[in-house]
Symmetry: C2
Subunit: 223 residues, 2 copies
C-alpha cells in the first residue's frame, strides 16, 4: 500500500502508466522466499490480472516444472493479503522472540487468517483469497522462515535489537501497518491481533508486554 | 476415525456410552503439541459439544491465562479436520525429507487446507472449520513441529528409515489415511494431494518419486 494515498500496487502502477494499462496490470503473491526460489525448489505463486486472457498468457509464460502459477480474478484481495501478511508475520516473530513454540504461533496464525479475510472483504476483496496462496501460504512462509525480515523484526521487538535491525533493513510490515490502520479505522472491524501489532509498531508500545498481555487477556466469543 | 466403521470419535463414544450421552459428548481440536502445553506456553484449542450449555460449561472449566478455548457447533468438521491434518502433515514431512524449504511446504499447506475444507463439507461439516484452529491451526503445528510423529513419518518416508520408525511409533495419519480414503471414495472429489499421500501410505508407492512427480506435474486450473 502506497503511503499517504493508500493505493494498492496495481492502482499506483496504473496511475503512473495510464488508464489504458488498467486491464493488463496485476500482481503476484504467494509464498516466495527468494533464496529458496533461486535454488530451484518447487513452489507456487498466485497471479491476478483483470484481463483474463492476459492472466492466462502470464501463467503460460511463468509456469514450469518448479514454479506453479494459480490465477485469481480477485486482484484486490491478492494485493491486500500480500500486504497484510507482513504485518501478521511481525506478530509471529514476536512469539519467536519470547521463545514460544508452534502451538502459540499456530493459534495466532489462525487468528491472523480470520482477521485478514475480514479486512480483505471489508475493502472489496474476497474472503477466500485469504485462505489460499496469497494469504495463508504467504503468511506461513513469512511467519516461519528464517529468511523473512518481517518475522525477524518481530523477534527483535520481543527479544531486543530492533532499532539496529531497522537501521540496516527495509521491513515492509512497518509502513504497511500504518497504512492498513488508516484504511480500516473507519470500518469498525474487530481485529484484536492487528490492533496489538499496530500499538507496538505505530504507538511504540513495548512488544513483550503487549504480546504477553494479548495472549493472557484474549478470549474467544460466540460459537 | 474408527477403522472399519468410519465412526468419528464422538460417534464411537456415544455408541459405547449410550444415546443419552449424545448431546453432551464432543471433541477438542486445535494446535496442541503436548510438550509445549506442559511447559505452560500460551495456546488455543477448539471444542465442539452439541449441547450449547455443556459446551459453555466446558469452556469455563478449561479456559485460563495460558489456554484459550474457542467453541464451535460443528462437531463433524472439528473431528474430520483433526483426523485429516495428520494425513496432510505426512505430506509436509515428506518435504522436510526432500530438504525443501518453506515455499514448498506453504504451497502444499494451502492445497491441503483447500482439500480439507472440501472433504469436511462433503461429509457434513462446515468449510469454515478447516480455516480455523481445528484445521489450519493444527495443520501448521503438526506439519512444522519437530515433535510431531506424523510429520516425522513423512520425513522418513522421503529420506529413509520409515520401517524402523513405524515399529516404535504409533502414527495416527496412517490408519486415518486408509479410513478417509474409504469414506470419500464414492464422493468423486478432486483431491490431488490426498490421492498422492494415499498412494504412498496405502499402496506402498515410494514417497520421493511420488512427491517429486506430484510437484512437477501438479497444475492449477480455473481462476
Amino acid at each position: 500500500l502506497e503511503a499517504g494515498t493508500h493505493r494498492r500496487m496495481s492502482e499506483a502502477l496504473v496511475a503512473a502508466l495510464g488508464e489504458r494499462f488498467a486491464a493488463t496490470t496485476g500482481s503476484m503473491g504467494g509464498p516466495a522466499i527468494a533464496i529458496e526460489m533461486a535454488r530451484g525448489q518447487p513452489m507456487s505463486v498466485i497471479i491476478g490480472i483483470p484481463d483474463e486472457q492476459a492472466c492466462q498468457t502470464a501463467q503460460a509464460i511463468l509456469q514450469n516444472d518448479h514454479l506453479k502459477v494459480e490465477m485469481t480474478a480477485d486482484v484486490v484481495g491478492l494485493e491486500l493479503c500480500s500486504t497484510l501478511k507482513n504485518v501478521y508475520a511481525i506478530a509471529l516473530g514476536m512469539c519467536d522472540g519470547l521463545v514460544y513454540g508452534t502451538n502459540t504461533k499456530a493459534s495466532l496464525a489462525s487468528l491472523a487468517l480470520a482477521e485478514m479475510s475480514r479486512i480483505a472483504e471489508a475493502l472489496g476483496g474476497r474472503r477466500e483469497t485469504a485462505y489460499g496462496l496469497a494469504g495463508l501460504g504467504d503468511l506461513i512462509t513469512t511467519g516461519f522462515s528464517q529468511h523473512s525480515r518481517n518475522r525477524a523484526l518481530g523477534e527483535k521487538l520481543a527479544a531486543g535489537g530492533w532499532q539496529e535491525f531497522l537501521r540496516t533493513n527495509t521491513v515492509e510490515g512497518v509502513p504497511a501497518c500504518g497504512a492498513v490502520g488508516e484504511l480500516i479505522e473507519p470500518r469498525g472491524l474487530t481485529l484484536p491481533l492487528f490492533t496489538m501489532v499496530h500499538g507496538v509498531i505505530c504507538h511504540e508500545q513495548p512488544a513483550p508486554e503487549a504480546m504477553t498481555r494479548f495472549l493472557r487477556e484474549f478470549s474467544y466469543t460466540g460459537g
